[in-house]
Amino acid sequence: MNSTQNVLEARGVGKRFGLTWALRDCTVSIPAGKVAALVGPNGAGKSTLLRLAAGLGRPNEGSLTVLGEVPGHENARLRSKVGYLDQERLLYPSFRVGEMLRFGKATNAKWDERMAASYVTQLGIDVDARVHSLSSGQKAQVALTLCLAKQPELLILDEPAATLDPLAREDLLQLLMQQVAQNGTSVVLSTHAIGDIVSVCEYLIILSRARVVLCDDLDYVLGSHRFLTAATSTKSSEPPGVTVIESRVSSREASYLVRMDAPFSDAGWRITEPTLEEIVLAYLREGAGRPDLNDAAQSSGGDGGSQ
């Protein structure tokens, strides 16, 4: 796959704040037309990667392209093609919703007025209401509407549904999926909600301790990971020909979460399907067990087990 088919292409990207690397050695390719999920614990570098992709800051090392171009503050052409929404959800509190929409129209060349109006109606938001009087769910919905009406080719969303109640979250994701169905918009979003990933995402990137530990098609991730379990009396070593992500061995039974990139043939193992949550958690625990890449740069205190 060449870079023109990828909406985001990072090679060895690193971003440092002072002495601390917030992101290191990040190599990911996100194909166009997909909804990609970025997961990882707080502080893993998710927001840093998304901010770099949105052109807010530059990497200290490596190369990053978005829609085939180098993102940056001066690249206005690229900024018009990219919608970025962070948790701050920058809205003007004293504006009315209708004024926010007119503001969007005045500041964006490709603004879709009808779409913006129909989304706001669909969400049951009063255009005459002032932004500060809206619930946090409605604010998030208005902020996303402003982002969508820009008709971006790529949407970058940093935890768009965090802090929302289940109903508001459902409405927000539904709005997003409608846009994807209508415009084929590519989306990269960070989230902690694994249930949301299964419903709306097709591509999964797991960041842990400032590094990418998994980056693949969601169907492939679900299809290639299995639990292999056997009595320790019959199997004394790890299963052959697979990548062991996590192992749990008791005196009686050994259980491995593995990735199989080819059919598994060693007989005598009980094979079961893990849930996406189990897969993600195994990668995060595995990543948490690795030495923190910032430990070397700092005085060697603590065991690196804390976040």
Binding site: V198, V200, E202, R270
Partner: protein, 135 residues
Amino acid sequence: MSERHPSIQFRLDPRSGVAPYRQLVEQVRLAVASGQLRGGDQLPSVREVVSQITINPNTVHRAYRELEHEGLAEGRPGLGTFITPRAGIVAGAVGRDILIDSLRDWMARARAAGLDDVEILELLGRFLNLQRVVS
């Protein structure tokens, strides 16, 4: 959006380890096998499904392609996706495949538990006898 009810109401189990598009495929297969969907029935359009449940439209596309590939559904250009007349037979045959797969899985477990051929046959025999007595 049309007022009529969709022929099938999909649902997604986010806690399942089964790929989302496979979940949709299985739901259609089950609906066909149970007679809830018949040959000629129209499946909801991708947009209808997206407005029913929060789901990625590409997942629905992928499920419909898979249903076409398996002979359960066919796309009619400009009209939509429809259940094929022979879908019932296909769903039945695939149903048998699933049984065989789960039997193979059970056999592997039985062997892992240390059962030999004689013990497995005895166990199966006991089940068959049991069912004869019941029916």
